[in-house]
C-alpha cells in the first residue's frame, strides 16, 4: 500500500512537472525550435536582456503588482475591521456578498464588465484612450480585495476584544490600541493577504487582457508571443520566473519552519 501510494504521488508530480521540464529544456535550445532539441546554448537568455518589449512589460507587471497589492492590503485590512464592526447582520452579509463577487465570478466576466465600465466612462468624457495604466491598476485592486479581506478576517475574529479594552483602560487612544494590540495579532493574516494579492496580480492574464489597453503586462506580451509561433525566448523568460518563484517559496517555507521552531522553543522555555 505504501509503495502504491508513493508511486501514485510520483505519477501526479510527473504529470504536473512534465510541461515545466519541457519548457526548461527547450529554453536552452540552440535553434529556434520548440520541437527538436539541437544543442545547448544560453542565446535565448542573452536575447531577453536586450528585448525592450519584454523588459518594459516586466516593469509594468511589477509596478501594477506592487501598487495593487499595497493598496488592496490597506483597503482590505481596514474593510475587514470595519465589516466585523457592522452591527446589523443583514448589512454585514450584504457587504460580504458584494465583496465575494469578483472571487466567485469567472475572470472573463469580471474583465469584460470592468472594460465596459471604463469604455463607458471614457466615451462619456470623450477620452481618446479609455484603457491604460489606471484601469489595469483599478482592475487588479478590485480582484485582490476579497482575497485580502478573507485572509485578515479569521485572524481578526481570533483576536480577543478584551485586549483592546485593556489597552484603552491603560490609557491608549482607540487609534493607538489598534496599532499596538490588533495590528500585531493580525499581522500574519495581513502578510498572507499581501503575498496572495501580489502573486495573483503578477499572474493575472484574463482580467488584464480586457482592461490594459496599450499598457501591456508580461502575461499579455506572452499571450501575443504565443499567438505567433513560439520561439524558445518565451520559455527562457518563463524559466526565469519559475526559478524566482521556486526560490521565493523555498525561502518562505524555511522562514516559516524556523519561526515555528522558535515558538516551540519559547513554549518549552516558558514551562
Amino acid at each position: 500500500m505504501k509503495t502504491l501510494s508513493r508511486l501514485y504521488i510520483a505519477l501526479i508530480l510527473l504529470f504536473l512537472y512534465a510541461p515545466v521540464a519541457v519548457m526548461i529544456i527547450f529554453s536552452f535550445n540552440s535553434s529556434g525550435s520548440v520541437w527538436v532539441f539541437e544543442g545547448f546554448s544560453f542565446d535565448w537568455y542573452k536575447g531577453l536582456m536586450s528585448d525592450t518589449t519584454m523588459l518594459t512589460a516586466l516593469e509594468h507587471t511589477l509596478i501594477v503588482a506592487v501598487l495593487s497589492a499595497l493598496i488592496s492590503t490597506v483597503l482590505g485590512t481596514a474593510a475587514a475591521v470595519g465589516i466585523l464592526a457592522i452591527r446589523k447582520k443583514i448589512a454585514a452579509s450584504t457587504v460580504m456578498s458584494i465583496t465575494n463577487i469578483p472571487m466567485m465570478n469567472a475572470d472573463i466576466v469580471t474583465g469584460v464588465s470592468l472594460m465596459l465600465l471604463f469604455i463607458f466612462v471614457g466615451n462619456l468624457f470623450a477620452l481618446r484612450e479609455s484603457l491604460g495604466f489606471a484601469t489595469v491598476l483599478i482592475a487588479h485592486i478590485t480582484f485582490n480585495l476579497p482575497y485580502v479581506i478573507l485572509s485578515v478576517m479569521p485572524k481578526l475574529r481570533q483576536t480577543d476584544a478584551n485586549l483592546v479594552d485593556a489597552a484603552m483602560d491603560l490609557g491608549c487612544t482607540p487609534f493607538k490600541a489598534f496599532f499596538k494590540v490588533i495590528l500585531p495579532s493580525i499581522s500574519t493574516g495581513i502578510a498572507t493577504g499581501a503575498i496572495m494579492a501580489f502573486t495573483l496580480s503578477l499572474d493575472d492574464f484574463v482580467i488584464s487582457y480586457f482592461t490594459c489597453g496599450k499598457y501591456q503586462t508580461l502575461p499579455i506580451v506572452i499571450y501575443n508571443m504565443t499567438k505567433k509561433s513560439v520561439t524558445p525566448d518565451t520559455y527562457a523568460l518563463s524559466t526565469i520566473i519559475f526559478i524566482a518563484v521556486f526560490v521565493l517559496l523555498i525561502l518562505y517555507n524555511m522562514l516559516q519552519t524556523k519561526s515555528e521552531k522558535q515558538t516551540a522553543m519559547r513554549k518549552v522555555g516558558a514551562k
Binding site: 519541457v22 470595519g82 479581506i149 481578526l156 499572474d203 519559475f242
Partner: protein, 275 residues
C-alpha cells in the same frame, strides 16, 4: 475581535464605495449593453442572438464537466495519499503541488503543444517504436487535458487541507466499531472531506467553463467555447460589444445557477449524495 463601535464601522466605507463602483456598477453596465444596440436604444436582439451560440455553450459545459470529474478522480487519491506521509514531507508536497500554479498558465498550456504535437515528444516516441503518429493535438481530448492540467492544483489543495484536519480518533473509532477499510472510507473520510470536494469542484469548473485560451491553443480553431466567442466579439470592435455583453451575462447566470446547485449538494447531509 467584536468591538462594535460606529467609528470602526467607517473603516469599511472605502472598500464599500470601491466595490460598488468597480464590482456592482460594471455588472449593471454589462446589463445595459446587453439590452441596447450600438446606438444605445433598448433592444432584445442581442438576447435573441444567443441562440446562435447554443453549441458553444453546450460544449463549454460538457468539456468543463468532464474536466472537473477527471480532476476530482485524479486529485482525490492524491490528497488522501498526501495525508499519509510524514508532516514535513506533507508541507514539501503541498509546495510542490502549488508551484506550477505560480507559473503563467499561458506557458503551462503552451508547453503541452510541444508534448502533444504531431512532431512532438509523445509522437516522436510512438514513431520510434513503430506506433503512430497518433493525432493528439487539436482534439477535444487535448482541450480537456489542458483544463485538467491547468486546474488540478485547485482541486488537490482544498481536498487535502480538509482531509488533513480529519480527527484521527474518528478513524480509530470506526475501526473499533468494526469498519473495514472500505466502510471507513465511505462513512467517515468521504463525508468529512465533502467541503473540500465542493470547493475544489467550484474552483475547477468556473475557470474551465469560461476559458478562452486553452481551447484556442490545444483545440485548434475547431472548438469554439463560450470564452472564445466572448473574446472574439470584444476583439471585433465596439459594434459587437452588445452581443458579447449578452453572452457574458448568460455565462455569468449559468455559473451562478451551477454554484447554487452545488451548494445544495453541500448542505444536504443525507447519505449517498456523492456515491
Amino acid at each position: 475581535m467584536n468591538k462594535k463601535s460606529f467609528g470602526s464601522q467607517l473603516l469599511a466605507a472605502p472598500h464599500i464605495v470601491w466595490s460598488v463602483l468597480f464590482t456592482v456598477v460594471p455588472l449593471f453596465i454589462m446589463l445595459y449593453f446587453a439590452f441596447t444596440n450600438a446606438d444605445g436604444v433598448f433592444t432584445l436582439e442581442n438576447i435573441k442572438q444567443i441562440g446562435l451560440y447554443k453549441k458553444a455553450f453546450g460544449i463549454s459545459i460538457l468539456y468543463a464537466v468532464i474536466a472537473t470529474l477527471i480532476t476530482l478522480l485524479i486529485a482525490y487519491p492524491m490528497a488522501y495519499f498526501m495525508t499519509k506521509v510524514n508532516i514535513s514531507s506533507q508541507r514539501m508536497l503541498m509546495m510542490i503541488v502549488m508551484i506550477p500554479m505560480w507559473m503563467n498558465f499561458l506557458i503551462r498550456t503552451y508547453s503541452w503543444i510541444t508534448i502533444l504535437a504531431n512532431t512532438g515528444i509523445i509522437n516522436t516516441f510512438l514513431k520510434s517504436i513503430g506506433l503512430g503518429p497518433v493525432k493528439l493535438i487539436n482534439t477535444p481530448g487535448a482541450v480537456i487535458l489542458g483544463m485538467v492540467y491547468d486546474f488540478l492544483p485547485y482541486m488537490i489543495l482544498p481536498i487535502y487541507s480538509v482531509m488533513s484536519k480529519i480527527d484521527k480518533s474518528l478513524l480509530e473509532a470506526s475501526e473499533d466499531l468494526g469498519s473495514n477499510a472500505f466502510n471507513k472510507f465511505r462513512r467517515v473520510i468521504l463525508p468529512l472531506s465533502r467541503p473540500g470536494i465542493i470547493s475544489g469542484i467550484t474552483m475547477v469548473f468556473v475557470p474551465s467553463v469560461s476559458t478562452f485560451y486553452i481551447s484556442q491553443k490545444l483545440g485548434g480553431n475547431k472548438t469554439m467555447l463560450v470564452g472564445d466567442v466572448i473574446e472574439y466579439f470584444f476583439n471585433a470592435g465596439p459594434d459587437y460589444y452588445n452581443v458579447a455583453s449578452a453572452i457574458s451575462m448568460v455565462l455569468m447566470i449559468m455559473i451562478l445557477v451551477c454554484m447554487v446547485i452545488m451548494n445544495r449538494f453541500s448542505d444536504d447531509d443525507s447519505e449517498g449524495v456523492i456515491i
